[in-house]
Every structure is written in structure tokens, then in C-alpha cells.
Symmetry: C2
Subunit: 249 residues, 2 copies
């Protein structure tokens, strides 16, 4: 009958939109990657369909099939469902799938993405023109990633890196930082924000020169400042990063 594509937010309950919580409570079926489905409160009679993280198109087709059968489905992603997450996979499945799927009632419910939750904990690093790049080359050539990193750094964008590293791709964040080092000053500010808004949140600050890519994991969002990004030292030893509204390249 319907699909709600729901962004669960970065992790903390009070950073999830009420509209998302309502859609989850009304669903007959919850579809998603194990870790994200586990964040949805259990409701009596609701069926939970959990799958491995790599099977996004299969999961999308499964959700569409359930909806065609009259179920009220919520398919969940962490952060915002439209950012390197399930919304794109659902529409890709629709385009190449049963034409009847185009008539389904589909609502995308936005959420607070990891990028903005991380930025908020760090200061205001995304206060000026910025971009988001997924480092995963599961679905695009690594050369495309490098092209975009170079273009973004040369044009003065602040850069948010999603999916910086995984067990199958341990080398990519290091390679990305090496490319950025050929363009940006060694003093460029970087933050690595892990598990933002969760109990095990950890935020590391570094310069581009000294950044250690092995400190990132799959739950880490990496923010690369532009040449205009500033670091403010606090009396307690902490720092804030921010990008002035008037940043130029």
C-alpha cells in the first residue's frame, strides 16, 4: 500500500524527527539493515525484515513487493535517508522494476544527516560552501572519487567524507588524504567524528599534515576544512572549528 523511506537521524533519540517516529509506529513492516532496524522501537504485530548492508537494491525490491501486497512499509536508514542511503536505492528499483510500483504511495521522510550532526559537535565547519563525497568505490570508479576530491579542494569547498573506510577498503581514506595534501595547506583543519550523538561518540581534531587515517572506521564522518576554516582554542583545551560565512577560495 505504501512505503515510508525514513531517516532515523544520527543516533540520539532526540535528534529524530517526530514525523519519522510516527511513520515507524504506523508501519506494519520495518525493512532495513540489521543495525538500523535495531534502533526502531518494537511494536506489537509489526514484522521486522533485516538484511545485510550490501544488499540495498534487493532490500528496496523487497520493500516494494511488500507494499504492492498491501503492507504499510517503513524502510530505514541512519541519518538522512536521501544521503548515500536507501531512498536512492528504492527509486532505482522502481525505475527498473514493475511499472505498477510507480503508482505506490511513497514518502521520503528526511532526517538529520551524520554530516550536520558532526558539524554541530565541532562548531560550524559547514558554515560555508561544502560538498559531500562517499569514498566507497563499490558503486563508482575510484578515479571519479579522486576527480571530485581534487575539484572540491581546488574550488574551496569544505569536504565531508562519508564511508571513509571499511574492512574491504582500508586504504581509501589514506589515499584521499594524500591527494588533498597536494592541494590544501598542511595546516588545514580536519575532524574525524565517530558515532556522533551516540554514547561512544569520539571526535578527533588534526591538521591535514598529521591526520591519521587508521583512526577512522565505518561509523566515522571525516570533515576537511577549506583554506578559510578557522580553529578557535578554548580555555579548557577544547577547540571549535568554523568556516566563516565570507570564506573565499
Amino acid at each position: 500500500m505504501s512505503i515510508a523511506i525514513v531517516g532515523l537521524g544520527p543516533g540520539a533519540d532526540d535528534l529524530q524527527a517526530p514525523r519519522a517516529a510516527a511513520a515507524l509506529a504506523q508501519a506494519t513492516d520495518i525493512v532495513g539493515y540489521t543495525t538500523y532496524v535495531a534502533r526502531v522501537p518494537e511494536c506489537n504485530g509489526q514484522i521486522r525484515h533485516v538484511t545485510d548492508n550490501r544488499e540495498e537494491i534487493l532490500r528496496a525490491r523487497h520493500a516494494l513487493t511488500l507494499a504492492s501486497e498491501g503492507r504499510r512499509v517503513a524502510i530505514v536508514s541512519s541519518g538522512d535517508a536521501g544521503v548515500f542511503a536507501m531512498a536512492s536505492a528504492v527509486f532505482e528499483a522502481i525505475e527498473h522494476g514493475d511499472p505498477a510500483w510507480r503508482a505506490l504511495d511513497i514518502e521520503v521522510i528526511p532526517g538529520i544527516s551524520a554530516m550536520f550532526a558532526a558539524a554541530a559537535r565541532i562548531g560550524a565547519p559547514l558554515g560555508h560552501d561544502f560538498c559531500a563525497i562517499s569514498l566507497s568505490d563499490n558503486l563508482k570508479p575510484w578515479d571519479t572519487v579522486l576527480l571530485r576530491l581534487r575539484a572540491a579542494a581546488e574550488a574551496g569547498f569544505v569536504i565531508a567524507l562519508y564511508n571513509p573506510i571499511s574492512r574491504a577498503r582500508p586504504w581509501q581514506l589514506g589515499a584521499a588524504l594524500d591527494v588533498l595534501r597536494t592541494i590544501l595547506p598542511p595546516s588545514t583543519d580536519i575532524a574525524m567524528a565517530q558515532a556522533v550523538s551516540c554514547p561512544d561518540e569520539r571526535i578527533l581534531f588534526a591538521t591535514l599534515a598529521e591526520a591519521d587515517p587508521t583512526l577512522a572506521d565505518m561509523r566515522t564522518l571525516v570533515l576537511i576544512g577549506s583554506a578559510a576554516t578557522r580553529r578557535i582554542a578554548r580555555p579548557d583545551g577544547g577547540v571549535w572549528l568554523y568556516s566563516p560565512r565570507g570564506s573565499i577560495a
Copy 2:
């Protein structure tokens, strides 16, 4: 005593994070642009300080001064406070202001930005690498805007344009589209999303060739697809736009 820099979300009450609502309810003082302060529910005894939209640094200093005097201040922005909004202005004021401000208790509370709310209404146009550019040249040279537009289009980013037009800058969106037309195919999909999630929401779809910049206003978020962005026709005449997860330049 403290400042909460609060993102109110795009407009609808149920797209505002509960953490934002809690911070607003606990504040002794609400500081912000008139239109945004009007979105905060009135609380007994709470003082509201409203200012014109252009005075961001003055407003930030005012909030910092109030906090120094022991007040519990919430300073509000639409969408996410860290995206072309007040968070950056507050940190800029801190860096150049009273050193004691660096010891203040400052929390940035993220929100759902206009970009993600618009994308959710349109499909999944930001499903792949993307960037956000403010077209305002109040604070940066127009040449910097053009440089970033060209770099983003050439590298295959989907582009979200904030502040596309204003009474003082009626020509900028048209000029930006003209530059993009020299790089992207005429068939590139564009959406203009006005007042997303509000009662007067209006979403227009066009190709780059036919897009009419005069249809945008200050409350419009403009999304420019990449060459990989797809349009799905629906049986009711509607469309979805999405960018496949595997988009290449």
C-alpha cells in the same frame, strides 16, 4: 550562561528535532531574525529579541553578551543552524570578540536542512555526491561563486543552491544557470522547491534548458541534477528525481 544555536528545521513542526524544541522551551531569551523567532512557541517570561536578517554578526554578539550576563539564550535559524546560518556567525563573533566568550557553554543543535527536506519531496536527487553553494555575494565575490559552480558541474556533483535570489540580487540565479548551461546537458533535471514542508509549499520541475530563474524567491532551494540524475514519470503525471548510488561523472 549558555547559548543553544538551534536549527528549527524546514518549517513543519514534526520535522523539528525534539532536542531543538527542548532547548527553546528552556531558554530565557530567544534571539533571531523576525520570521524565525515567530516559529518559536511563546513561553511565559521568555524574552524575544528580533532583528533584521542582515545583521548576523551583531545578533551573534548580542546573544553572546546576554549569555555572559547569565542568561540562557537560544539563537535560532531555519533548517540547520550550521548551513549558511547563525552557527558560523556566532563562532566568528567569538573569535574576534571578548576572550571570556570562549569559556561560555555553547551547544549547536542540528536540524533538517532545506536541502534535505526539498530532496525528500522530490525523490532522492542527493543520493550521490553533492554540494551546497550559497549564491549570495554579500559575503564573497561573485567570481568565487562562478568558480565553484563550474568545478561542481564539471566534477559531476549534484548541486544545491541556497539563497538563489533576493530583491537586491535578482539576476544571480539566471547568471548561475547560464554558466551551468555551458557545462551540463540541456536535458539536466532541475527542481525548484519553495517553502518546503510549509502550507504554501510549491515544487517545480524543469530541464536546465527551460528553467526560468524568475520563478525562484528567497524561500526557494534550487537543486541541479548531475548528468547521472534520472527522472521517473508517475502514472498521475507527477515525477520523481533521483541520483543513482553508482553515478559517475
